[in-house]
């Protein structure tokens, strides 16, 4: 059991939902970053913008990073509210449950640069991404707070899930390729592509989760729990991205990317299923004995398996003026999977340059049924040869504070020469 708890803990700690391979600076704009990414980062956001340049762009180890933590229900205010209570009344309990929306869902992820180098219209880079998510049914909290009544409680993977994934990538990108033979009425369109070789470090995901608690005077108390946690260490995969960008009018840039092309990670080392089964049927206090339940814990090797990274499309626009730039990105995957969401997400970003060397960054991402909305704030210091910055995000709250349901912190250092 300790191993399971440890696995869960590790999974949560390293977990985050994967939409794409993020980079540290995307946090500055609430992920409205497709057309803002330049240099090495462009290979991850829109390789069309690997624009030929006389400068070389350098990513240093560890300095481009982002850490994301969020949940759908709890915030500091709620924590303080609960901790300020000696006794939880029914209304207090209901307040907690009302925040759940079916389940308590949390995620934690991170990414960090290993090394990157962009030259001319090409780049090669490496980063490590760790991501995962966990959800627990609201019914569990309901049981904890209110107890049980006669009836049946069913639990399945919809509201009780766990997934964690970590991998390293080596990405090659090339961009700024003009698409030829376009009609004259169409402004020039840049094209780019990137290819990432993925080295799977570890994977945990819930293959099966079925639970049932029922209590009635006619059938007694029945408990059933079937969990299959599939884990793997060591895998290899690939994903590709193509991107296009264009400047239809001065100051406006639009772009489109399709990510996760042929995206998959095949896990073929140390793959195993950790199966846990518990069952107790028709239990009455009057006939309790030592063997009123059956419990099995099995670890068995399993065949290699693949995690699919469904294609994801991103569209964006960026308007740039002298001291301000505004952007909007829309992202949607073709299929919901462990790492993508088929529910679209709209995010917007802004950069202000009150002073040339000290840009201010803002972003907001509208929430959807799966993710809370978020706001980003960042500041950076820019010079002729580089830029350094730090930013944070707040989930479900305009400003980071007691009502935030999550925070992200990102940092970056770019050096070009």
């Amino acid at each position: 059991m300790k191993k399971h708890i440890l696995t869960l803990f590790i999974a949560v700690v390293i977990a985050c939902p994967l939409l794409a391979i993020k980079t540290g600076k995307s946090i500055f704009y609430a992920d409205s970053y497709m057309l803002r990414a330049r240099g090495v980062e462009a290979a991850y956001w829109n390789p069309a913008n690997l624009i030929k340049s006389k400068y070389y762009d350098l990513w240093l180890p560890g300095v481009n990073m982002g850490i994301y933590a969020k949940n759908n229900a709890l915030d500091l205010d709620t924590y303080n509210f609960i901790m300020g209570k000696e006794y939880l009344s029914d209304s207090d309990k209901q307040l907690l449950l009302d925040k759940m929306d079916g389940s308590l869902r949390g995620s934690l992820n991170g990414n960090i640069s290993v090394l990157g180098y962009a030259f001319s219209n090409m780049s090669i880079s490496s980063s490590i991404s760790m991501m995962g998510k966990m959800s627990i049914s609201e019914q569990y909290l309901d049981l904890l707070l209110h107890g049980n009544t006669e009836g049946e409680y069913l639990f399945d993977k919809t509201h009780n899930d766990l997934a964690a994934l970590s991998f390293a990538d080596i990405t090659f990108g090339m961009g700024d390729i003009k698409i030829p033979y376009l009609p004259e009425v169409i402004p020039p369109v840049r094209f780019g592509f990137s290819a990432s070789l993925l080295a799977g470090l570890g994977s945990v995901h819930m293959e099966q989760y079925d639970g049932r608690i029922s209590s009635s005077v006619d059938t007694g108390m029945s408990l059933y729990q079937d969990v299959n946690l599939r884990t793997a260490t060591g895998g290899a995969g690939f994903k590709g991205m193509i991107g296009m960008a264009s400047n239809p009018i001065p100051g406006l840039e639009v772009g489109l990317t399709i990510d996760n092309i042929f995206g998959t990670i095949a896990w073929n080392m140390f793959t195993e299923d950790q199966k846990y089964h518990f069952e107790a049927n028709n239990v009455y206090v009057s006939n309790l004995n030592d063997d009123f339940y059956t419990q099995t814990k099995v670890r068995e090797e399993t065949d290699s398996f693949s995690i699919e990274l469904p294609p994801e499309i991103r569209m964006g626009a960026l308007w740039t003026a002298k001291k301000v730039s505004l952007s909007a990105d829309y992202t949607q995957a073709f299929k919901t999977s462990m790492v993508t969401s088929s529910v679209g997400k709209l995010s917007m970003g802004a950069r202000f340059l009150p002073v040339y060397f000290l840009p201010l960054h803002f972003g907001i991402s509208l929430g959807n049924s799966q993710n809370p909305w978020l706001a980003s704030y960042g500041i950076s210091l820019k010079s002729e040869t580089g830029e350094i910055g730090v930013a944070f995000q707040s989930y479900d709250s305009l400003i980071p504070g007691p009502t935030s349901k999550g925070v992200s912190i990102g940092s970056f250092i770019r050096i070009w020469y």
Binding site: L144, L145, G147, N148, M221, S286, N287
Partner: protein, 497 residues
Amino acid sequence: MKYYGILLIAILVLLGGCEVKKPTKPKWDVDLAVPLINETYLVSDLVDDVNIITDTNDVLTLTSTGDVATPTFGNVSFTPPPTAGIDNADIPSGVPIQQSIPFLDPTGEVLFAYASIAEGVIQTKFTNMHPSADIEIEFGNIFTATNEKLRIIAAPSTDWVNHSLVGCHFGLIDSDEVIEEMQIKITSTSNQPIGTEIATMGLKMNLPMAFDEIIGKLYNFTMGLQESLASIEIEYPQGLNQAITLQDATITMILQNDLEFDAEFNGQFYAYNEDGDEVTVPILNDNGQNFHVTPGANTLEVHNSIASLLDIMPTHIEIVNGLFTIQSGEVLGSVRASDKIELDYVVKAPFTFTLHPQDIVVKEEIDIPISGENAKRIEKNALSAKLELNILNKVPVGATATAYFSDTPNIDVADNNTYKYTKVTTIYASNSPEGGSDQMVELTLTRDELMLFSNPHVYLKWKFSFMESGTPVTIYATSADYLRIKSMLYAKISVEY
């Protein structure tokens, strides 16, 4: 730069507002619904085929078995007539003498065609016997173990000579003629002329004898039962005898009569109850007559004569003055010394009874130990509890059950200082207007009442007050006769980490 100043101030204000309270341990209440029991207690489950059985009509029946026997019949004493003998008879040489001696029992109690002699002697005395005389007495009705006629060779003596008859027998085993006379044949030889008196003979066959087997007729012979073994002790659980009066009972006696004689059984049932009431009734058949017993197996069913015993709900029943009187008819019977009359009895009392509104206090007090850990949990977490009982009673017996709870032993239900509180529930008889269908009963325990269970021991005593049935009720043991109890425990507990 003023923008950055404003931004910095805003960040500081925000961070200052992020108070994180020290973790505390809030408490809350949780309601639990725990299935406690769902059992169907079939009346037929009481049947153990030993003490509780069902009769042919599926009526639950209390039964008890035992056995009793007469002592072994023993040897049959027989005293020949005083005239059985020959006094000073002259024995002539060479002249056979045949003589019949009367041998009928002068009392007329024992007549036999065959009798194996366990004890007995014949006395002879030969005087004035010529030295050359050879005299032999042959008994026509007495045989040796090899079925040869008994012969006695005369020897001169001045005193009576005893000749043991042990191992010999009168008559032959397949004889059906009662021996009334003893046939004697005396033969002699000597060197004296024929007819010369060669001895004077005396013969006595009138000494008492004992037979270990006879074929014949017996009159006025009796065999008593071993009374100390012929008793039945009845223990009524929890004084149930005060609450019910049984309506019916039978005693079936399977009697094995080893004797090849008919017999008549005389006897009485003697019974008393725990109040000292006594009843003695004769053991008679349903026609009011003594039971007649034939050789071999007999089944005697005592029914009517014991009905009056049930009026006092006896705790002890025994057969007294049990006596078998041998009855000889026209046909010869037989008996051996080891023969006896064995009696296996089966008492059957169907559960047909009248219920009286009598309180029955269960004598045994239930001690419920509460571990220190659980006591603390109850004290700390238990807020209230409710027991919801769904009872379906298909048995025509109803009762009000009262549970007495205390933290000290020796609960006296009549003294409310010896218990803390009571809980009462009523289960209606199936044949009552309120009974026969699902009955919901709720028992609640308040926080104060639950605190009793924070003591190291809780003592519980039950009292049952049966509802008067008025008319006799019968308990059947079919699949439709049961008491079903379903129960959910609803508890409110305080959760505190």
